[in-house]
């Protein structure tokens, strides 16, 4: 029986760690979880993010003040519907000299292969980087959120802190950008 108790304790610890790893979505004020994101294959997207050479990167390595992450999927109807709004947001940022370079967008394709993201990119002419999360590991680290889900991250001195975390899309890129500027402290 004593042996059984030992096994039971081990089992509880293992199960608890598994469920702890099935994390909750990050909330405002949290340190951004360490995510091992795939470096984009496209040269222009690596340049956009200002990444060093390598296969993977973390959000805090992106050369910018603010990163907006969209947890999305080629297989998500609302992400398809949201795609033009994201493109508008990108153009709005890149077309504003005071903001260009200070806010970067990244789409994380939950359960999507690089090929599936390529199809999505071509379909919607997505101008910003999409990174594959083929085995849902990043999705799991972010609390298995429904999609699309947006996380705003402020980067200061290499530290990444969440200031925005919300399920669902936005209808107006300008209004969303205003909210991001206000909450991030860029404005």
């Amino acid at each position: 029986m004593r042996r059984f108790v030992q096994y039971a304790v081990v089992a509880v610890v293992v199960i608890s760690s598994l469920y702890a790893s099935a994390a909750q979505p990050p909330t405002s004020g949290d340190v951004m979880p360490a995510l091992k994101l795939v470096v984009p294959a496209e040269r222009e997207h690596r340049a956009y993010l200002g990444l060093p050479s390598g296969d993977f990167f973390e959000v805090g390595q992106v050369k910018t003040d603010v990163v907006i992450l969209e947890i999305m999927s080629m297989y998500c109807p609302f992400c398809q519907k949201e795609a033009p709004n994201l493109n508008d947001l990108y153009r709005l940022i890149e077309g504003t000299p005071k903001l260009k370079g200070r806010i970067k967008l990244i789409g994380i394709g939950a359960g999507n292969s690089p090929y599936e993201l390529k199809v999505f990119r071509e379909k919607y002419q997505v101008p910003f980087p999409l990174t594959p999360d083929r085995d849902f590991q990043t999705h799991l680290s972010l609390g298995e959120v429904r999609t699309p889900y947006f996380i705003g991250v402020r980067i200061e001195k290499g530290a990444a802190r969440v200031f925005y975390s919300k399920l669902g899309g936005f209808e107006d890129a300008g209004a969303f950008l205003e909210e991001i500027l206000r909450l991030s402290g860029l404005k």
Partner: protein, 198 residues
């Protein structure tokens, strides 16, 4: 003691399997039934690559009747069997196909989506996916007859998550009975369609 150990190990394995391998769109809100992790496959194929496909006729949610052989000599056919409406992985599969009409057209192919659900259920479920360009067919009655003809009807009456590609001559060229808990990657379908070109 070995029994205790085996029990606890099994418990850990089962519970770790509860970690999902699908994403869910906000389009479905909280309306998806959680099936938990299922036996990866649960049927025995009755068809083989290289054989002429069995023919069938099924009703679509549009009201039309679709017969496989109507595409003979005209289009390659990709059949996507999915297990059941309103379940996690299935709800994370066909919405992706909704944006692929151009890709299928480029390969001179059509897509037929089949489940064993009835028409009203399929109508309500697929309405959450946006506009689907491909026929969604019901293999509800006689229950799962077409799935069973292909050997992809599971013991609980649902279908496997399977992709079957049939060329213009009616010959089966590809069969993938995927792990029911995972969505097949799109490139596996496209690679097979590429082989049918020319």
């Amino acid at each position: 003691m070995k029994i205790y150990k085996a029990f606890l190990v099994s418990l850990v394995v089962v519970l770790s399997g509860a970690v999902s391998a699908y994403g869910l769109s906000e389009a479905f809100k909280g309306n998806i039934y959680q099936t938990g992790k299922l036996k990866p496959t649960d049927s025995i194929l009755r068809v083989k690559v290289g054989e002429i496909s069995p023919d069938f006729t099924l009703s679509a949610i549009s009201g039309e009747r679709v017969t496989l052989s109507q595409y003979r000599g005209k289009k390659h056919v990709v059949i996507s069997f999915v297990p059941a409406a309103w379940t996690p992985v299935c709800s994370d599969q066909w919405p992706g196909y909704a944006i692929l009409q151009d890709l299928f057209d480029q390969h001179d192919a059509v897509l037929l989506g089949i489940t064993v659900d009835n028409i009203p259920t399929l109508f309500a479920w697929t309405n959450q996916m946006g506009k689907l360009w491909f026929p969604v067919l019901s293999d509800f009655w006689p229950h799962g007859k077409v799935a069973d003809t292909f050997g992809v009807l599971r013991s609980d009456g649902t279908a496997e998550r399977a992709i079957i590609i049939i060329d213009k001559s009616g010959t089966i060229r590809y069969i993938d009975v995927n792990d029911i808990n995972k969505r097949p990657f799109l490139e596996s379908i496209v690679e097979e369609l590429e082989k049918l070109k020319g």
